[in-house]
């Protein structure tokens, strides 16, 4: 009843082609943005540092993989490695030119990841599906090897790990141990929101349509004049750009330091699970998937405490694993196309409520 587009008439194609054509959606997005940017006013360090910053970073990486796997149909298991390329590129850049704004370097590190991603995307012309996933595993193992063996990448540090130096932007400390979680949260949020907006622009235009065309029916796409290799390589590059920025944010604004093991195959799988559960080919799905897989276990861990049930912390940990596992299976049975589809079905129901159809 409240979610209905009745009376909202489109008078131009521009307004009909808008990303959020319905007024209620625009209001909803505005409310969410205001809430997100004002969160530091009423949330504590724990919420910002251990929940929201990682959630946003995982959501960004999921958007990256979703652009490639969900929109273009190219399965990839190299996400962790591409995030690593971003992180190490950012580290090297800020080591060599420490005076340049760190946010500029975070964004620039995405270009390095994009280049590497495009190179490892080359096999995609010949192979598809699971076989392509195995080919991208090569990227995962090769790049991880580089992170361990090429000492230049971590400035010949004895421990083999990278330590994030302190950097300030306009006099405010953004990275390093002395940066406040409020500052880091706002920086991460701004970058993630801007990049989500850009991804949404891309997917609603010509480029998004060509990517989805390649995903849905590559032969027809080719006969319509869409060249497969450039299209796929571009998808690899843009996707890796997103993953690279997510990796740089992860190390510089969340962990504060990293070892090569951070970017191993498990990281790739985690991101892949997030987009499968959230919904392939949906930007909202990237957020929902990241929320389900990352935030839900944290929340569940605190439930016994809130309810005053005395259970040992280790037991809580085990139960959390079990509940999350069951929920994943449950959501996938209810809607195999992911949480985003569940949301769009819900919206449809809301539109016609109180009538069934």
């Amino acid at each position: 009843m409240f979610y209905r587009e009745a009376g909202q008439f489109k008078t131009s194609y521009a307004s009909d082609q808008a990303i959020f054509p319905i007024l209620q959606d625009r209001i909803g997005i505005a409310v969410i943005l205001v809430a997100a940017f004002s969160l530091p006013l009423y949330a504590n360090d724990f919420i910002l540092n251990a929940v929201m910053i990682p959630f946003l970073i995982f959501a960004l990486a999921s958007i990256g993989l979703n652009l490639l796997t969900g929109y273009t149909g190219q399965l990839s298991l190299g996400t962790g490695a591409f995030m690593g390329v971003g992180a190490y590129a950012c580290y090297k850049l800020t080591s060599i030119w420490p005076d340049v704004n760190i946010i500029v370097w975070v964004i620039c590190s995405g270009f390095f990841a994009a280049g590497v991603g495009a190179i490892f995307g080359l096999p995609s012309l010949r192979i598809k599906g699971f076989y392509l996933a195995i080919a991208t595993l090569a990227a995962q193992f090769f790049l991880e090897w580089c992170f361990i063996r090429i000492a230049w990448l971590y400035n010949y540090n004895i421990s083999g790990a990278i330590e994030v130096p302190q950097r300030t932007v306009l006099g405010v400390i953004v990275t390093g141990p002395r940066a406040t979680s409020e500052t880091r949260y706002i920086v991460v949020l701004a970058i993630v929101v801007a990049m989500t907006w850009i991804a949404s622009n891309l997917m609603h235009g010509r480029i998004g349509r060509t990517w989805m065309a390649v995903r849905d029916m590559d032969i027809a796409a080719e006969l319509m004049g869409i060249r497969l290799l450039p299209t796929k390589l571009m998808a690899f590059a843009v996707s890796s750009f997103y993953c690279g920025v997510a990796g740089a944010l992860m190390v510089f604004l969340w962990y504060g330091g990293a070892e090569p093991a951070v970017f191993n195959i498990n990281q790739s799988f985690t991101i892949l699970f997030m987009i499968i559960i959230g919904g392939l080919g949906s930007l909202l799905g990237a957020y929902l998937g990241a929320a389900l897989i990352y935030i839900l276990p944290i929340v569940l861990r605190f439930v016994p405490e809130w309810l005053g049930i005395p259970i040992h912390a280790a037991t809580v940990e085990h139960i959390t694993f079990m509940i999350v596992g069951v929920l994943i299976v449950f959501f996938l049975i209810v809607e195999p196309a992911g949480l985003a589809r569940l949301w769009s079905i819900g919206k449809q129901k809301l539109r016609v409520w109180p009538f069934p159809y």
Binding site: S12, Y13, A14, D16, Q17, I19, I198, N201, L202, H204, G205, R206, I207, R209, T210, M212, A213, R215, D216, M217, I219, A220, A221, E222, L223, M224, G225, I226, R227, G281
Partner: protein, 267 residues
């Protein structure tokens, strides 16, 4: 439907595409051997033949998906031995498929908009912002697409994901996607397969209208002989990869080789 007339009409012009002595084989299987024919500007040209005659292979050769081992294809005065699919698309050849090859995850509108890809050229950076030139281009092409939607009378299904549409409408959306390319030569691979009589009549009308209003040259493969004889100006008949007849529908209908190919020969 219009009665077939034998005299060449004024709307038919010069040769648009000619296929000369084309042979195509897959290993030991000869799909096409030494076939030559031409398609004239503005005509409706049918390619018929029994199952496995090499009709679809012929279309695949024309729009560059298969590369023939032998022979030449001349399109708009340019001769080449083989053509890349995107070159064919740039040159103005569009195509529909025997089993619908729509982009199933996208809406009917987006499918037809995807057909405009080649005509859109605003660069990547404006696309990132989806503002200014990018948005203007989007709206301008949306207008063209809306005309096609009106033409095919599919206004009410614009926003429906094509996977959910019934078969007849999917075929229509696919025709719309091909029309969005504003092709000079439109290849239709069994546009009426699996349709009931009413849908066939609708589709025939669309094909005639496309030919008449847009002046598009059409090459179609079809099994319904009534439709083929009524629609087409000239018919080429293939059997086992060999051309056995070529001419107006009336000539082809009387051709003994064609009758033998379809009905069999008494031994």
């Amino acid at each position: 439907m219009r009665a077939p007339d034998t005299a060449p009409r004024a709307r038919v012009g010069d040769v648009l595409l000619s296929v000369e002595d084309v042979s195509l084989s897959f290993g030991g299987v000869k799909a096409i051997s030494g076939v030559s024919f031409d398609i004239r500007q503005g005509e409706i040209r049918a390619i018929i033949g029994p199952n496995g005659a090499g009709k679809t292979s012929m279309l695949n050769v024309i729009n560059g998906f298969y590369h023939p081992q032998q022979g030449r294809i001349t399109f708009k005065g340019r001769t080449r031995a083989k053509m890349r699919p995107y070159e064919a698309a740039y040159g103005g050849i569009a195509r529909t498929f025997q089993n619908v090859a729509l982009f199933r995850g996208m809406s009917a509108l987006d499918n037809i908009m995807a057909g405009r890809t080649l005509k859109m050229n605003v660069n990547f950076f404006w696309q990132l912002l989806r503002y200014g030139p990018a948005m203007r281009e989007e709206v301008e092409h949306r207008r063209v697409v809306e005309e096609i939607i009106d033409f095919l009378k599919i206004q009410e299904i614009r926003r429906t994901p094509v996977g959910r549409l019934p078969y007849g409408l999917q075929k229509r959306v696919e025709l719309g996607r091909a029309l969005a390319m504003q092709p000079e030569l439109l290849l239709l691979d069994e546009p009426m397969a699996g349709m009931n009589l009413e849908e066939k009549e609708d589709m025939s009308r669309f094909i005639l209208d496309v030919n008449e209003y847009y002046g598009t040259t059409i090459a179609l493969i079809e099994h319904d002989m009534g439709v083929v004889m009524d629609l087409s100006d000239r018919v080429v008949v293939l059997d086992h990869g060999i051309k056995i007849a070529d001419g107006t529908p009336d000539e082809v209908k009387r051709d003994q080789a064609v009758i033998d190919a379809y009905l069999g020969v008494a031994h």
